[in-house]
Amino acid sequence: MRPATATRRTARSTGRAVRRTGPRPSGSGRRRSRTVRTTLVAFAMLSPALLALVLMRVVPMISAVNQSFRHVSLATGDSEFDGLANYTHLLTDPGFHSVLVVTLVFNLVLNPAIVVLSTALALLTAQRLPLVGLWRSMIFVPAAVPGAVVALIWSTALEPDGLVNALLEFVGLPPQPFLTSSSQAAFSIGIMVTWGALGYWMIFVIAGLKDIPDSLYEAAALDGAGWWRRLVSITLPLLKRPMAFVLIACTVGSFLLFAPVQILTKGGPNGSTNLIMFDIYNRTYLLGDVGVGQAEVVILMLLLAVIVAVQFRLLREEKA
């Protein structure tokens, strides 16, 4: 039975057999009532989730969207409808343009790096090795470090005479300014985020790896396929679904990142780490410019939606 299942599953991951798992109607009268009934079942199963999402996310989001069309006077607190003024202000503000550039470049480098590294770690720690559970758990640990402590650790480690520079000196390299230099600050924050994220995403890739039947590898081994060949033709294609999840969830996570920026650099030096979520936080909470801050939230959501849609599309096309 095993080989048969295996082939079936391979076929599935390359085609879209899943779509057809629902009941296949035959007669047209029965068909309608069955469709109605399955739809009802589906929505019954979905309703608690949808209710929670609507109440806990969509309803407050509506208030944010509403705010984005209003202007609040700092002097009087009066709020008035202001049309698209907040949006035009943002889109013509050179400061916002540099926020967009910084955010996009940051994510373009960071997310692929995290996906590749966490997949590599997953492949490594999914092997049968001595004490592998311990090594896996140690790699996972940073995901659980409280945000404020992550910042405390890295602000200390990246100090001019901190741990990282001590290591650099040990191997004979000159000390670096890290967070205090506009050319290195974003990179330093990227390292810190990668450290915190690797083990977390690794867990999801491992879950996907565990889904791949051993029989496939056994069959490939009989064919004399080497390690690399097995990786490219079995493991990676079958990992596509979990990796799609990791890439998308990780992209969203990185776009919404702001605690380390707030604690470590406050967007500086000279705006070099002014990522979009920090800019939103800064405008809304520090500058009190609520309307523009919320307009920026809306723009961020649209931007993310486009990026995620493209990612879905790319991953789907490759499959076909």
Binding site: W195, S215, F245, L256
Partner: protein, 278 residues
């Protein structure tokens, strides 16, 4: 799948090296937590090997920590995280299962909606949401702490991805056996999905384990305070006791690691070795 002895040594070395490199900063937190008060800086500028070796340290920070409100905070964090996992999975699993296995009109739209909502930055909507909770009479209650974390679109997303990988003939066979959809989900699908359930559960767990902004916004009274806030309160306005903060951080960090070690067995059982035998 056979590997040579040399291969095992190389791979093990790589895994150990990666684990140690990632763990080093956490280890530094532990060693610093054994230095009373702020005396850890003694070994920081200039950096000495004593920053990484807990020689001459003691556990006073831990005894100080465990006699204060931090212990109540830990209990509350466990309670809130536990409720969040239980209710969060009870909500996410059926939703993900419906999305993965039932072909109904509007499925694409619903899935897109869930992914879109998952992108809403919680920090940006937390203040209006706290106003709503005030109106709903949910301030300062366990329900108020748990509810926002239940709306986790990514938990649904990850479960759906994995449910889609379950062979359809398995589900069809179950239906032939006369099992209903719920029974199939409960008896066939969930036992096969332990890694994904652990992944989704971990997402829900960590979202509460690190909760900071929200519990403060809804005005949580001291007896319902969560651990990260008890930790932050250790540094009062004008005095800092980093030793205790390190100790609290280490406790908060190590607990999820122990949980993961504990779930290791379920986690590493693969579909091929459990589900499809016979």
């Amino acid at each position: 799948m056979r590997r040579s002895r040399g291969g095992t040594i190389v791979l093990t070395t790589a895994a150990v090296f990666a684990a140690l490199a990632v763990f080093l900063p956490v280890w530094w937190v532990f060693v610093s937590s054994t230095r009373p008060g702020n005396s850890y800086v003694e070994h920081m500028a200039p950096l000495s090997w004593l920053a990484f070796v807990p020689v001459g340290g003691d556990l006073t920070n831990y005894s100080g920590l465990l006699s204060g409100p931090f212990l109540t905070g830990l209990f509350n964090s466990f309670l809130v995280a536990g409720l969040t996992i239980a209710f969060g999975l009870a909500i996410a699993v059926p939703a993900a299962y419906a999305l993965a296995t039932i072909d109904f009109p509007g499925r694409g739209i619903v899935f897109t909606f869930i992914v879109l909502v998952a992108m809403i930055p919680f920090d940006a909507i937390a203040i209006p949401l706290s106003g709503l909770f005030q109106d709903w009479g949910l301030s300062d209650s366990y329900a108020g702490l748990v509810l926002p974390a239940l709306a986790n679109g990514f938990a649904i997303f990850v479960l759906r991805q994995f449910f889609m990988g379950i062979p359809s003939e398995l589900l069809e066979a179950a239906e032939v056996d006369g099992l209903g959809r719920i029974a199939t989900l409960w008896r066939i699908v969930l036992p096969l999905s332990k890694p994904a359930l652990i992944g989704a559960g971990m997402m829900l767990f960590l979202s509460q384990w690190q909760a900071y902004l929200w519990p403060l916004l809804i005005g949580t009274s001291p007896e319902r305070q969560l651990a990260p806030i008890a930790l932050a309160n250790l540094s009062t306005l004008f005095t800092v006791d980093l030793g205790q903060i390190f100790a609290g951080s280490f406790v908060l960090t190590i607990i999820p690691m122990i949980l993961l070690l504990f779930f290791q067995k379920q986690y590493t059982e693969s579909l091929s070795t459990t589900g499809l035998k016979g």
